[in-house]
Amino acid sequence: MNAQAETLRKNLVDAIVECDIDKTKSNVEASRGILSPQEIIDALSEGMHEVGIKFERGKLFLPHVMVAANAMTSAVALIEGDLAESMTGGSRGHVVMGTVEGDVHDIGKSIVSTMLQCAGYDVNDVGRDVPTATFLEAVKEGNADVLGLSALMTTSMQTQKEVIETLIEKGMRKDVQVIVGGAPVTQAFSDKIGADGYSENASEAVKLVHRLLGN
């Protein structure tokens, strides 16, 4: 990467870490044509990752995370067209993603969706407080390869288990790989409920899906 590109890249990371929506958008505009869509997304993701670390350490607070997540989503929307063009190979797989019923926490889930989209997956984000039946319909309809379930509360974690049980009941379990996440979820819980994978954060989630689909 040349010096100019490196500066643009760094500006993108900084704009996200500063939780500045307008600056993020204008930096994306300034980077188009010089950085590839993938490079832009990688920079935004790097910023988001840093925001996540600062949140965990108590250096940044929830309002910052919400604004940074919004900055990332609106920046990605700007280059969606470029991204489609640059992805000659087509989609790397179809993912259905949502937060389980009874749970309205969706900031983390939306970040995972965005990052998977950026990594070349076709993501159907079905939202939050999603009834189990809706997940199953979306999997069937889109012939999904992966189903991602997010839960942020100890109570709603049980619903992740219910979704997997319903998939088994309906004879759909072997058609789709189920991944689970959200702050209270652990690898041990994921194993216990028979999910195919768990990851702690969005960048790990991308690696997880790559691995599960052999990409």
Binding site: I21, F61, L62, P63, N70
Partner: protein
């Protein structure tokens, strides 16, 4: 001192007087299925009938031996009369907000005409609470302290305009956030005074949305404190108790500065460190864990935690947050015994 009534004991504890033991009382949401079954009064009906509410509110004393009665079981009644839709919940779950009447108005930065506090807070479920408090004062007030619960201004503003809007707005439209918290404070202040006038000894205001999980201490100072402070300065009669969930250790100073007469804290705060930090400037209420030990632990665990909280020097031993309706009687009885002996 053994012939003190629970009321005398709790009020003395809130004045931070020397006592042979602290009182043990549920200052947060107190109803459980065990009490509902013993009294034959159930959720959701008890949320909207003053007689039933009063009976279940006294369950902590009548069924379990705690040293207070406490009315209202949720934080949705103020928002409901202001236009929020509420799912009344079930026997084992609290009412839940289903919509936020001013969500779009917040986003559009619209000026809205809000109804007067007198009008709405003397109707619907807020009126049920006021009536239940009067019943409790009449029937229990000679022996038990009557505690009334309500919703704090930042939390109520979130109920009206959507909490996500508020949290996002702290960075993107701070003036709009302040406008809504100020508007919500009009209702909070009116209702706190009305509960006091109905005869409540203590008004415990819950402000969970202003917790450190959502706001930094600086944000708390800017967006939540000023409205609490103003309200407490005006309150006549009842003692005020400010309850905030989560780890509030970083904002204990700010909470003291609101002028609340007592602070109610959750189990995420280390009780020894909290007592040390507050250093006798204000009485502390709390902070036996609701999930652990009360919901998931054994009676022995509950005894251990109750004793630890009393030994740490909290002025009133209470659960750190609203009780889950599923907490078994044995565990609550064990907590009572750990303090009363």
């Amino acid at each position: 001192m053994t012939d003190m009534t629970p009321r005398e004991r709790v009020l003395a504890a809130l004045r931070m007087e020397e006592l042979d033991r602290p009182p043990v009382a549920v200052f947060t949401q107190s109803a459980t299925i065990g009490q509902m079954e013993a009294l034959d009064v159930y959720w959701p009906e008890a949320h909207s009938d003053p007689r039933m509410m009063a009976k279940l509110s006294a369950g902590q004393a009548d069924v379990l031996g705690f040293e207070a009665v406490r009315a209202t079981f949720c934080l949705t009644s103020e928002a409901e009369v202001l236009g929020a839709e509420v799912d009344p919940g079930k026997m084992n779950s609290q009412p839940m907000l289903k919509s936020h009447p001013y969500k779009d108005a917040f986003k559009a930065k619209e000026e809205v005409d809000l109804p007067s506090p007198e009008e709405v807070l003397n109707s619907g479920r807020p009126k049920v609470i006021l009536d239940a408090v009067e019943i409790l004062v009449k029937e229990y007030g000679d022996r038990y302290p009557v505690i009334a619960g309500n919703t704090g201004p930042f939390t109520l503003a979130g109920h009206l305009a959507d909490t996500e809007n508020l949290v996002f707005g702290i960075i993107m439209s701070p003036d709009e956030v302040k406008k809504w918290v100020k508007a919500a404070a009009e209702y909070t202040d009116y209702f706190t005074q009305a509960l006091s006038d109905a005869g409540a000894d203590v008004v415990q205001m819950s402000e969970p949305t202003a917790s450190c999980d959502l706001l930094s201490p600086e944000m708390f100072e800017e967006f939540a404190s000023p409205y609490l402070k103003e309200g407490y300065a005006k309150l006549k009669g009842a003692k005020s108790c400010l309850h905030i969930c989560g780890n509030t250790y970083p904002i204990l100073e700010h909470m003291i500065a609101t002028g609340a007469d007592a602070l109610s804290i959750e189990e995420k705060v280390d009780p020894v460190k909290a007592v040390e930090s507050v250093a006798g400037r204000v009485p502390l209420v709390g902070n036996v864990g609701v999930v652990h030990p009360l919901l998931q632990g054994s009676p022995e665990d509950c005894i251990k935690h109750g004793k630890a909280v009393a030994a740490a020097g909290l002025n009133v031993v209470s659960p750190g947050c609203g009780l889950s309706a599923l907490i078994p009687n044995e565990n609550l009885l064990a907590l009572v015994k750990s303090v009363k002996g």
